[in-house]
């Protein structure tokens, strides 16, 4: 059974003329890693809000079409049940800090307390997650006094600790430096290895290319392109709707334009090197 099914879904916020989502049809399968890219305002976050059930339960407005989560219509789900099922890390780290806990350790534990997890398990899960996100030297700190980057790690840790099968992650590295970004992405890879269903919204296209199995390109509320990563990211048409192509793919197209096509448009450095070497071997140039 598909994890999430969208059938001709359209949504308009109250008191607006333009629809935020227009006729989206897509199926998210369990255990797969999806990337969502596109220009700002294109509907990526709205899509996340929809899958997470915030549309229609929190964001009133007109929703048409069917959204099925685990086979059940989203309108029949209770929001609190969805929050126990789908983890959501979203963009703004500042509002994700609860403001009701005085140490980082307790902050990360909050979700587990709400889920009724026994104390000993809370302690071990929080400890593990803090190690994974390298915030162990912050555990006694006041979460409200952290920097943006630190808050983002703590927010990520808090959702990670809840160990959900499905996760929606919306730009989790916006406040992080390259090293922090790498840390977060290695954890996302861990989640992938655990066969969780992941939907990742990111602008860092090279990292998306590295980890995602399928890509959705959102533009102006529509699903402009979708499909396996290679197919979508190698397609120069995505640039017309504001999405970026990985550098390697740009390089691949340049090679093609120069009359020296590679076997496939590479989407990351490793592939680029591999294909170039393969070409050299085969053609000698």
């Amino acid at each position: 059974m598909a994890a999430i099914e969208l059938k001709d879904v359209s949504y308009r916020h109250p008191y607006t003329k333009e629809s935020a989502l227009k006729h989206i049809t897509y199926t998210f399968e369990p255990g797969k890693f999806y990337g969502v890219i596109g220009e700002n305002g294109g509907g990526k976050t709205t899509l996340c809000n929809l899958i997470r059930g915030l549309i229609p339960h929190f964001y009133k407005g007109r929703l048409k079409g069917d959204v099925l989560i685990d086979g059940k219509d989203i309108r029949d789900w209770v929001l609190s049940d969805l929050s126990a099922k789908i983890g959501y890390v979203f963009q703004n780290p500042f509002t994700q800090i609860s403001s009701i806990k005085s140490t980082v350790f307790e902050e990360v534990a909050l979700g587990l307390e709400n889920l009724g997890v026994p104390k000993d398990e809370i302690i071990s899960r929080v400890t593990t997650v803090c190690e994974q996100l390298k915030i162990t030297d912050l555990i006694k700190n006041d979460p409200n006094e952290l920097s943006g980057g630190q808050k983002q790690r703590v927010a990520f840790a808090s959702i990670l600790a809840m160990d959900m099968d499905m996760m929606i992650i919306d730009e989790p590295t916006s406040q992080l430096d390259p090293e922090g970004t790498e840390d977060v992405f290695s954890i996302i890879k861990l989640l992938k290895d655990q066969h969780k269903t992941i939907i990742l919204v990111e602008h860092k296209i090279d990292l998306i290319a590295e980890y995602c199995e399928e890509i959705l390109v959102m533009s102006n509320g529509r699903l402009a392109f979708s499909g396996p990563t290679h197919e979508v990211l190698g397609n120069p048409a995505i640039m017309e709707v504001g999405a970026m192509m990985p550098q390697s793919a740009v390089f691949g197209h340049a090679m093609k334009a120069a009359g020296k096509p590679l076997q496939q448009i590479p989407i990351n450095q490793a592939e680029a090197v591999e294909f170039v070497n393969a070409r050299k071997e085969h053609y000698g140039n």
Partner: protein
């Protein structure tokens, strides 16, 4: 990794100090009882010793400095004001001269009345202040949740306190930067009142609309999930010894009430 810190969650939270480690509801009960007793007595001979007792308890709990910063200020302003206000104007009950302050005649009756009122307020305030200085709000909220109060209430109290800190900081930053840019924070009252709005409007608005994201964030932490919550940080439930203390405190409060009611009833009856 600070393992002692993590291990500390496995047992009840304790500081080692007798008063501080009492259950928050115990402390609340005791302090309320004494505050009420100050109200019932309305007498400087009770109020003043009570204030001193408050100072002693707080000192034994190691929080005297924070306590006195507030209590000291409060006391001085209160006493001075009430003294002066009570001596102003002609009052028929003033017959016994007390002292003459630069030609201004002070009377004993007003003096005593002032002290009675002042010491009630001091005793009342002192008792509650002792409570708040020695009990973190999150501990009180924890005990209330154990008694069945919803965690939404907890959220409101704790989030409000943090929001106050955050909003204050943000407001100060804005006002400081506006000052340096020369916006009219000096000048007459109308000018200053006008300066109030554009400086802080955007701040207040973004605080407002930020509550939407807060709702989503807390929902992502399963805040609205029904069913029993567990607690990482636990406090010891009220012990029988503590119940005795609570009983004693309220017995004292009752005694003070009766000490006022019984004579009044006797007087009414024998008239």
């Amino acid at each position: 990794m600070d393992t002692t810190f993590i291990e500390s969650f496995k047992s009840y939270q304790k500081t080692g100090n007798f008063w501080l480690d009492l259950n928050p509801l115990t402390k609340l009960s005791i302090c309320s009882a004494f505050a009420m007793s100050a109200l019932f007595m309305m007498d400087w001979r009770y109020g003043i010793p009570l204030s001193i007792l408050c100072c002693i308890v707080v000192a034994l709990a190691g929080k005297f400095k924070e306590f006195f910063q507030i209590y000291g200020k409060l006391s001085i302003i209160l006493i001075v004001f009430i003294m002066i206000v009570r001596q102003l104007g002609t009052r028929p009950e003033n017959v016994t001269p007390l002292i003459n302050v630069f030609g201004w005649q002070w009377y004993t009756e007003s003096f005593k009345a002032a002290w009675d009122t002042a010491s009630f307020i001091l005793g009342f305030s002192g008792a509650f202040l002792v409570y708040f200085i020695t009990t973190p709000m999150r501990d009180l909220m924890y005990t209330l949740e154990q008694k069945g109060v919803s965690h939404e209430t907890s959220y409101i109290m704790l989030a409000a306190m943090q929001n106050i800190v955050d909003l204050r900081k943000a407001a100060t930053t804005i006002l400081d930067s506006q000052k340096s840019r020369g916006i009219e924070t000096e000048g007459n009252i109308i000018v200053r009142a006008k300066a109030f709005f554009p400086t802080l409007g955007p701040l207040l608005l973004s605080a407002f609309t930020g509550s939407e994201e807060k709702l989503i964030a807390m929902d992502a932490r399963a805040f609205s999930v029904k069913g029993n919550h567990t607690f990482l940080r636990e406090l010891e439930p009220i012990t029988p010894k503590e119940n005795i203390l609570i009983f004693l405190a309220w017995a004292i409060a009752l005694a003070t009430l009766l000490s006022k009611i019984i004579p009044a009833v006797m007087r009414a009856v024998t008239k």
